[in-house]
């Protein structure tokens, strides 16, 4: 992808972190697609096109980070639930450590001259 194509500087960043956000949501409980997308949507600015979560889930499944199971639903057809795998947990743990370090570094650089309190700004 050409550097100029990324009009929004956060687009690439978002793409890189969203799968870890999915993994983090799945550590608490198994979710089906619609619920998962809604949860992600509750955090502002995390997802721009909800539909792109589905190719992402498919990719994560093929990488062995999540598994899926069909479950009965009270109404309508069975639903596909996503669960995090050990390998997914491993990836999430690695990312979480890296991310904290990265975030602190960026905050420190951006925050130069502005003093404290710019965390998660």
């Amino acid at each position: 992808m050409e550097p100029g194509e990324a009009q929004n500087p956060l687009t690439q960043l978002r793409r890189g972190v969203i799968e870890y956000c999915v993994l983090a949501l799945l550590t608490a409980e198994e979710l089906y697609g619609f619920d998962l997308v809604k949860r992600l949507g509750e955090s502002e600015g995390l997802v721009t096109s909800e539909g792109t979560i589905y190719p992402l889930l498919s990719r994560m499944r093929r990488a062995g980070w999540v598994t899926t199971t069909w479950r009965e639903s009270e109404s309508g057809p069975p639903r596909r639930y996503y669960a995090i795998t050990r390998s997914g947990q491993h990836a999430l743990d690695g990312f979480t450590t890296e991310w904290r370090r990265f975030r602190d570094s960026v905050d420190a650089v951006l925050g130069t001259g502005e003093g404290h309190g710019v965390h998660r700004g």
Binding site: M1, Y32, G51, Y54, R59, T68, R79, A91
Partner: protein, 306 residues
């Protein structure tokens, strides 16, 4: 559905997505379509979508079909860090429905094993996760005893009707008269009732089995693809399951008629090494092995009753 009026919106959206997703290939396109379709259905079920405005909002949030497909095509472009990407030696195939096909076979053809075959079918039906509880109940209740039970009952009805004929000869040995008599003991049904029972007990179960298998197929298509380990030389591997299948299908019927080949079929369909085509070939051969002794027994019985 209450918002049928705006359904064309969904249809149009899915059509655009389907067209855009064409380059992804059948498997991934199917998975993507199923995911998005499920999402829209879930939004309707949850009450979030109840009119055209809320539906448009939902489709807006889903995003442009091209954008979704672009996200799917990002695979390995480097935009997403992917340290744990799938190893090259793994390919994917659509999820199989061996369990469901085996269940349907046991409930219909397998019911020639009388109670046992049908029971195995019922157990298999209830262990499938691709059928709803309602469908499982239908499968169980529509097949009480399976079609074979109906045939057996029909056999009891017909088998006790025995006919005989005797020739009356004159002094020269020429036939002057043929007397035939039929002795019918037991019970027989009026034709209309027999026909109705036949349809209800033999035809309907087979139709239901077909429909249920097709539904399972559709749901399996919507499932994630299954990784297949490809051996380095790309040849079919022979594991215990495959060898067992061949043995049971070939010599199995000598050891255990009917049960042997049926078990062989189950093994063949459970194999993750054989392709679908190979499994169907095994099924065709297995069915022959299965049918021949039955035909032979029926033939023998009818010959003896003459």
């Amino acid at each position: 559905m209450e918002f049928t009026v705006v359904d064309p919106l969904v249809e149009d959206y899915l059509r655009r997505l389907d067209a855009a997703a064409y380059p992804l290939g059948d498997d991934r396109r199917g998975e993507l379509m199923a995911g998005i379709r499920e999402h829209i259905e879930a939004a309707v079920e949850s009450g979030e979508v109840h009119d055209e405005v809320s539906l448009r909002a939902l489709l807006d949030r889903l995003g442009d079909p091209e954008e979704i497909v672009a996200a799917a095509r990002d695979d390995g472009s480097g935009a997403t860090p992917y340290p744990l990407g799938a190893p090259a030696a793994v390919t994917y195939r659509r999820a199989g429905i061996g369990l469901e096909i085996t269940a349907a076979l046991f409930l219909t053809v397998g019911s020639v094993l009388l109670v046992v075959g049908w029971l195995v079918g019922v157990v298999l039906v209830w262990s499938s996760r691709r059928w709803t509880v309602g469908e499982k109940l239908i499968a169980t209740l529509v097949f009480p005893g399976g079609p074979a039970a109906a045939l057996v009952l029909a056999g009891i009805g017909a088998g006790v009707t025995s006919c005989g004929s005797s020739s009356v000869l004159d002094a020269n040995g020429d036939v002057v008269d043929v007397q035939s008599s039929c002795v019918s003991s037991g019970w027989s049904l009026p034709p209309w009732l027999g026909l109705t029972l036949f349809v209800a007990w033999v035809i309907v179960p087979i139709l239901v089995a077909g429909v249920l298998v097709m539904r399972a197929r559709r749901r399996a298509d919507a499932e994630p693809l299954v990784p297949v380990t490809v051996s380095p030389r790309g040849t079919t591997r022979w594991g215990g399951l495959e060898i067992a299948a061949v043995l049971l299908l070939s010599v199995g019927s000598f050891v255990a008629p009917v049960v042997g080949p049926v078990a062989g079929l189950v093994c063949a369909w459970l194999s993750d090494q054989w392709t679908r085509t190979e499994k169907w070939i095994a099924t065709a051969i297995g069915s022959l092995v299965l049918v021949v002794p039955i035909v032979a027994v029926v033939g023998l019985l009818s010959f003896r009753s003459l």
